[in-house]
Structure formats: C-alpha cells, structure tokens
C-alpha cells in the first residue's frame, strides 16, 4: 500500500468524524498558538526596552552615586574637570536630576518632569532645540533661571502662543523660556516630550536636592568606553574609598542584564505554553485510543482481507500526524493573529514574529502527534483479526 493511499485513508477517516477531529485538534491549536503568542509578547517587550536603551547610543556611560556620605561628595564641576583632563576618552558629561514639579503659565498649570542638566545633555541624548536655544555653560555658572520646554508642555500650557521669552513658574519661582525642544515622541503625555529642562545648579537649589546623583557621560567612541569606565571608577574610588558607594555601567552591560532577564521571562512563558501543548498531545492519545476501541471491527475487517500490521500502524499514525500537523498549522495562524491583532493591534508592545519559535512549536506539535499516536496505533495494529471481527 502506497504512502499516498495511506494518507487518503487517514483523511477520509478524519473527515468522517469532523467534530471529534476538531476537538482533538483544539488542544494542539491552543498549545501552539499560546507558545507563539507568549514568546511574541515576551520578545516584543524585550525589543521595546532594548530599542529604547540602544537609541541612547553605545558610547554612553552612566554613573550613579549611592553613598550618603555628605563630607566626601563628587560634584558636577569635579567630574567636569575630570572629563576635561581625560578628553581622549570622554567627550561630554551631563548631570541628571529628575524631579516631578508643577509648571505654570498664567492660569494654566501642568505637572511634568523637570530635568536639571548641562549643555552636554544635547550631545549625549541628541536632544536639540528647534526654536530658541538649549542651555549654555553660562546658565549653570551664573544660576540663570532659564527653561527649555518639551512640546507636550508647550502644547498644553501655551495654547498656541509662542512661549519664547515668556515667564513660567516652576514650584513658584519664575523662569524665562529660552527654547523649545525637537519633538521626539509625538508629543505624548508622560513621554520624552513631557519635560522641562533647567540648569543643574538651579535645579539643585530649587528642589533642595543637595548632591547630584546621576551623570550621563559620553565616551569618545565605543572603543574607549572600557578605558573611560576604568578611569572613572578609579577616580570615584579615590573620593569615596568605598566601591559600593557608586556604580559605573554602560549600555552594553544594561543590555546584557536585560537579555538574561527577558530570556528567563521568554523561557518561563514558553514553558507554561509548552505544557498546554503536551496536554493537547495527551488529548490526542486519548481520542486515538477511543478510536481504536471504536474501530476494532474495522481493523478486524481490514486485517482479514489482507492488511498487514504495518498498514494499520501507518494508517493510525498518519491520522494522528495529520490531526496534530493540521492543528499545528491552525495554531500558528491563531498565534500570529493574536500577536498581530491583539498584542500589536492594541500597541502593547511591538510586533515580533520569532521564526525559530514558530518552527519549534510546530515541530513539538508534530512530535507530540507521533509520540502520542504511536501507542494507540501499535495497539490497533496488534489486534488479533478473529477477535477484532467478533467485536461490535
């Protein structure tokens, strides 16, 4: 008996019991689609985070000061000085202090993120002014109360009038608007455009925040990142005499940490989904076993008129494989639709389609079909024709 003939027979048998065949496939469909959707979701969220980090540039070094020792503090000007001494490795230093504050223009007010920083910030983050100017070094040194606004803030509190030269109040103190930032994020609330930038020294006094704890530092090139970090660590260690008081890290390290974290997340999600795939496989075994019992007579007839053990085995196995294979294809389709219409459609995370995981889950579903189809098929093939014929 040819293989094609065996397939035809299996298809006929599947078709002759459509509802049961569909219910059998359902387990596989749910299993495969949940693996694909879960992995898609995990990888989509990873992508959105890694995209954000890598958009900041690979030359970026972050310094966090954790120590509470007020006697020995590294100030912005000290780091700036250090950077100028090491201009071979470091091109820019920007202090960063983020504080949430209320910004008021006439009667309009808005709660937004007030960032205290230095002119270097625009080099490091590629944030430039589209109108007016960005901060200049003078603003910091002379404690000028000037502000550069993000478009989300402008749109909200200025209502169409030009903000340049206008006075706004931040936490009650008057600031002059000197510039508007280029739009980065479509002007969304809570996004990169919902920001007010003021000189770091002014921010320090305004919010009484004492020391500045975060610095963004740009290395001259990706190749000098390592040596710049070493020098920074050496410099900070000299000041703090405690390596736990500060942290120096770069984007690559952040991405690595993130990778291992999201890798675990992907594995956990995929693992949970894979369990449902195996449950689906057990469902198939169950149905195939029932089918063997139900079709004992048919098997007896086939054997009596000359079917060999192998013919029966192949017939049942092909039935199981077609069921799971077809279920797998439907599962892939459902999984991709979930990613496209639900995960991507509602903009939860970017749409990511992982070809390896699609193949893996489809492969597992076929494997499940073969494995769990084998036992019932073997049972059917081993029936004694005389006894099988006697059954009703």
């Amino acid at each position: 008996m040819s293989f094609i003939q065996a397939c035809k027979m299996a298809v006929k048998s599947i078709k002759s019991n459509k509802v049961r065949s569909f219910l059998t496939m359902l387990g596989v469909i749910i299993g495969v689609s949940s693996v694909i959707a879960a992995v898609g979701f995990a990888q989509g969220s990873t992508k959105s985070i890694t995209d954000m980090i890598s958009s900041m540039g690979t030359n970026l070094i972050q310094v966090n000061i954790m120590g509470r020792n007020s006697n020995r503090n590294v100030t912005y000007s000290q780091i700036k000085e250090f950077a100028e001494e090491n201009s071979g490795e470091i091109t820019a230093v920007a202090p960063q202090s983020n504080t949430s504050a209320t910004v008021k223009y006439k009667t309009n007010s808005r709660s937004t993120n007030v960032l205290g920083t230095s002119p270097d910030y625009q080099i490091i983050r590629s944030v430039y002014a589209q109108q007016g100017r960005f901060l200049i070094q003078n603003d910091l040194e002379n404690m000028q109360k000037v502000a550069v606004l993000g478009t989300a803030v402008v749109n909200d509190i200025f209502e169409g009038t030009s903000p340049l030269g206008e006075k706004i109040k931040i936490n009650g103190q008057l600031f002059t608007v000197v510039g508007i930032l280029e739009e980065k994020d479509g002007g969304q609330d809570q996004g990169a455009d919902d920001i007010v930038i003021i000189p770091a020294t002014v921010a320090q006094r305004l919010f009484r925040s004492g020391m500045i704890r975060n610095f963004s530092i740009q290395a001259t090139s990706p190749d000098t990142v390592e040596s710049a970090m070493e020098k920074l660590e050496e410099f900070l260690a000299k000041t703090y005499k405690d390596s736990d008081a500060f942290r120096v890290f770069n984007q690559a390290e952040m991405l690595e940490n993130l990778d291992s974290m999201t890798g675990t997340m992907t594995a956990v999600l995929a693992g949970i989904a894979a369990i449902s795939l195996i449950v689906g496989g057990i469902g198939i075994m169950n149905i195939m076993l029932v089918s063997v019992t139900e079709r004992t007579k048919e098997i007896g007839i086939r054997k009596a008129i000359g079917a060999r053990k192998k013919n029966i085995l192949v017939q049942f196995l092909i039935e199981a494989i077609i069921l799971t294979g077809f279920g797998g294809v439907l599962g892939v389709a459902v999984g991709l639709s979930v990613i496209h219409f639900i995960i991507g459609g509602f903009g939860l995370v970017p749409e990511v389609y992982s070809i390896p995981w699609i193949l893996i889950s489809f492969g597992i579903s076929l494997g499940v079909g073969v494995t769990f189809g084998l036992f019932p098929a073997y049972k059917a093939a081993s029936l004694n024709p005389i006894e099988a014929l006697r059954s009703e």
Partner: protein, 225 residues
C-alpha cells in the same frame, strides 16, 4: 489446492484445554464447491479460520496451493489472505463509513494496485454481483442481500484461489439467501473454488460435496451431485 493433514487446534481457557479441531485431514481440489456442515460448537468456524489463514493450528500441516502455511508470520498470513482468499462473512463485515465501491477496493489497496486499475476491477466485480447501479451507496443504504453481494464482490475482486463463505445466508431472509447461494453457484460455474460453511442442511445440499463435522472431527465426506 487445500491439503490439511492431521490438523489439531487446542484452545486454553484457564486451565481447561478445549480441542476445537481433533486430528482433521481434508483435501479440497481446485474448482470444487464444498460445504462444511456442522452444529454450532462443532469446530467448523475454527476450521474456517484455519483454512482462511486467520489463525494457525496447534499441530498438523496445512498446505495451501502447495505452500506450507503453519509456520508463517502474521504478515505472511496477511499476504496470503490478501492474494489467495476471499472472505464472505455472516455479518457482511463491510466498513460502514465507506461506500460499496470503496469497500470492494480494499483488498486491491492492500495489494498495491494503482487507482485506475483498482476502480475498473471494483466496478467489474460489482457488475458481476448485479450492483453496478449502487456503487456509491453506503452499506446502511443497502438491503442485507445487497450488502452481502458487496461483500462477495469484495471477496472476488482480488482474483483469489478460494472463496470462503462463512454462513453467508445466516443474516438474510430466505429469498435473499437463495439469491446469494445462486450467485455463489454461478461463480463456481465460472471457475471459482468455493468453500461454504453452514449449519443449514438445505443450503449445504447446494454444493457438490458435503463435509460433515462434529466435535472437531470429520464424520462424513461425500459427493452429492
């Protein structure tokens, strides 16, 4: 054609050994029409299973077409059933979800005959039993007599050496039963070797030779016509 020599079949049910066939010797030549008659429990079904290669004897020899059968494997027995024997059962034993044509095709599928030839031969066999207008009907849509004709067509289609009919009229009314027997007679006239197993004397009388079996032993063997 069929040569059975000192064949015994012993079934073990628990600790009790039941001798279903006790040292039987029987020989059937080509083109014969033989009925094997006996009451139920006489061993005739066991004998039929042996002749049809559905089972192997406990002891003794069975040569079919010059070939020793008793030592063969399951797959070799399946090959013999497929190529040399056509079965007609009391309960028709058609596959319910297949139509008449598909049922008749089955032995040819297992012989590996290509689709177009299979179709032609199956239609031919159905014509021979007078069901050419019912080839796409399922068993449930056919009368008992028609179902048994489909079964006979299925038995014929592979050109077997022997047609083995086990109580073929047992589930039929007397008129359909008579038709079936006439059909078998017709096939016999065309050259088939037919072994008919029955408990009914009247039907047995239709054959050329009657073998009576009782308690696993042959107690009469005579030519009637």
């Amino acid at each position: 054609m069929i040569e059975i020599c000192n064949m015994s079949k012993i079934y073990r049910i628990g600790n009790v050994a039941v001798k279903a066939l006790d040292n039987i010797s029987l020989s059937i030549k080509q083109h014969e029409f033989v009925s094997i008659v006996g009451p139920s429990g006489s061993g005739k079904s066991t004998l039929m299973n042996m002749i049809g290669c559905l089972d192997v004897p406990t002891s003794g020899e069975y040569r079919l077409d010059g070939m020793e059968v008793s030592g063969l494997t399951d797959d070799q027995l399946a090959y013999i059933r497929n190529h040399k024997i056509g079965f007609v059962f009391q309960g028709f034993n058609l596959i319910q979800k297949l139509n008449a044509l598909e049922n008749v095709e089955l032995p040819l599928i297992y012989q590996g005959i290509p689709t177009s030839e299979r179709y032609e031969r199956s239609v031919e066999a159905l014509k021979l039993v007078g069901l050419e207008d019912r080839i796409h009907h399922r068993p449930a849509e056919l009368s008992g007599g028609q179902q048994q004709r489909v079964a006979i067509a299925r038995a014929l289609v592979g050109n077997p050496q022997i047609i083995l009919a086990d109580e073929p009229t047992g589930n039929l009314d007397s008129k359909s039963g008579k038709d079936i027997i006439n059909l078998l007679k017709e096939l016999h006239l065309k050259g088939s070797t037919i072994v008919l197993i029955t408990h009914d004397n009247d039907i047995a009388m239709m054959a050329e030779r009657i073998v009576r079996i009782q308690d696993g032993q042959i107690n009469d063997d005579r030519v009637v016509s």
